[in-house]
Symmetry: none
Amino acid sequence: MPENSVITPKQQRSLETQRKLLNALHFCLKDKFFEHITIQELAQNAGVSVGTFYRRFKDKESLLPLLYQDFGQRLSCWVDSLEKLEFKSLKQVLETLSIETWQFLEENKSVFRTLHLNSRLQTELLDSDTSVDRKVIYQRLSNIILCFKKEITVAGKTNAADSVIFIIITSLLDKVLYPDLTPAIASKLEVNKFAKELPKILLPYLTAEK
Amino acid sequence: MPENSVITPKQQRSLETQRKLLNALHFCLKDKFFEHITIQELAQNAGVSVGTFYRRFKDKESLLPLLYQDFGQRLSCWVDSLEKLEFKSLKQVLETLSIETWQFLEENKSVFRTLHLNSRLQTELLDSDTSVDRKVIYQRLSNIILCFKKEITVAGKTNAADSVIFIIITSLLDKVLYPDLTPAIASKLEVNKFAKELPKILLPYLTAEK
Amino acid sequence: MPENSVITPKQQRSLETQRKLLNALHFCLKDKFFEHITIQELAQNAGVSVGTFYRRFKDKESLLPLLYQDFGQRLSCWVDSLEKLEFKSLKQVLETLSIETWQFLEENKSVFRTLHLNSRLQTELLDSDTSVDRKVIYQRLSNIILCFKKEITVAGKTNAADSVIFIIITSLLDKVLYPDLTPAIASKLEVNKFAKELPKILLPYLTAEK
Amino acid sequence: MPENSVITPKQQRSLETQRKLLNALHFCLKDKFFEHITIQELAQNAGVSVGTFYRRFKDKESLLPLLYQDFGQRLSCWVDSLEKLEFKSLKQVLETLSIETWQFLEENKSVFRTLHLNSRLQTELLDSDTSVDRKVIYQRLSNIILCFKKEITVAGKTNAADSVIFIIITSLLDKVLYPDLTPAIASKLEVNKFAKELPKILLPYLTAEK
DNA sequence: CATGAATGAGGATTCATTCAT
DNA sequence: AATGAATGAATCCTCATTCAT
């Protein structure tokens, strides 16, 4: 919530430009890597001049926090939609999470790759995301699992749920981004098959007998 | 004008030069990302002239197959060393694999990042390494698990072992490469802690009661 | 990314820059051959930066159409001036044309050489000059001869006049550009002497008795 | 005639290399201009090493005198063949010369272009040609015309014959080398048509009534 | 001697950034 | 403010020439 809740035309225009440039970035990322995109290219795709770009941003890297924030929004929306689902069992939760995560990663893979590969800028990225705390989002995913606390028998349920979420995302992401490369080729399964295997892997962990 | 971007050396000296340049690449990767390394830097670190670089390689990217091959060697050696270990139980196998994998990834993280970054070159990369079949290497890791076949109760033991290997590598790699970023932050655990948690996650899967 | 290698300028300043670079090319051609002129040299002589050169032209060769166009202008002006002259006889026409052509070639020899050298670009060159049709210019020269149609007895007066113009230019050009080389040395005469000989050669052709 | 008329094996080998390189030059000139041919290319095409090239020649330009000499041989042979022909009239001489010259130029156009465009090296070129004096060759062509001295009525028969030879060569060369460019386009005629027109142009000159 | 690997000066080219319009 | 032309440092890349093998 900004202090001043009335947006002036000036701010309005500025926001538009920002949005245009971000869209241009998304567009360009489909074709090539962040480091190979030039500012001229961005400006051209956004329909603004390079001068205008520099009025808004210090340099190309300064777009990344925006990309990260924007991604945060999508992530948040996605989690929203997951939270609205009704689940009957822990098993169903894991199954749904796996499939949905895969789809989500597939749709956002260029952003993931960009943020990963430019992770040297992590500090700025993390600082920038004032609106949505990323960790909180992942906890909301954990919480979906923890709704079925009764079924979970492993010690340290919260940590366990976190780990499950982490493994789901990271393994699927690897399959999505680098299907033919180390380490993804360690498992012969295609990503869709693997998404179905994941619940079978993780359910026993959460529900193991003591 | 060779089709291929790597010239087959006809003299002993050439092979030395190639090795020098590869070493220089490894050296530079400690400091900075592949994209930011210049040819001049490589040449200088290798103690050769830029012209020599160009005599051997079409461009910087043409070094990557060499990096990939070289990495294949290291990987193979590492698996060799793991195969020589004696294990008492499946649990111990998983514990050792987790810790050792973490260490190995830590030592080779810049190579992983570089190869991932340039994964668009996957075909060339994969074709480039005729000496070591990457999939076979990972199967050797699986086989270490499968030594304790008797303890494994899950259906599809081979696939299961593959999946376990894949999850160990991919989750640890994420923690190693991007500890503060999506998705690694989904789990609060530090990489060393997580390496100890992994066996607890994966053992139940392999040994789950029907 | 324009198809064409010459960018159409959108600002007045651009046109100036273009003119500056063309002038720089003319200046440099006095000293050396086109092949030996560097972009830096051109930029420096034009008083602009190398980047500016590249903003306007894809490469050095892309200047040639401009050179060709510019030469077209000069050619046209020169023919203008010839058309304004008053002649008393066909003989006088040929005498004047020979001398004037020699002078004109002498002044433009570096341009001729450059355009010849790069004649592989003929199509582009020819297409590049939409403002002045080169063939029409030469026809205007022919027409000066054809003013004295009555004196001309040879069959096919138009073609004959064309051939005369062609021979005047080509033979003098050879003498001017390569005075000591094949085929110019075939005739011992200096270019000035030869320019005076030409009318004697060509007049009989035009006025030969049947 | 060399002082020492016995050629040692060493000289023999050297001569071979020289011949190979000259052939390579001819071969390359079909594709591209002299200035774009690299020494590596020449060496490769000649089947020798660059080092060997440098053992024989100071630089690429040093090949030009060889090219010029070699061309001198062909020219001489060609004139030989012309001298052997029997002519019935001056008209026939001119007709034959035109056609034959055209053919000869066509076959040697890359050499002509190369020598013309590198004419800055004229002095060296001229000096180099010790075996065959170029001017003498052209005089032999003139002499073929002068065989029909009786038919020639113009004053200064020798100079006139020279001029005729010069015009035949220079105009046809222009048509052959730069058919679509200034000044060749001044005359609409194709080179074969023009070769037939030339005698009609030049005969009246030589045989003009006083 | 022949070879071809190595050299590095020199020229080409890009693109983030500035600044006049 | 917005534009896009201009800048020039930084990097790429070539190729004549040298020199170790």
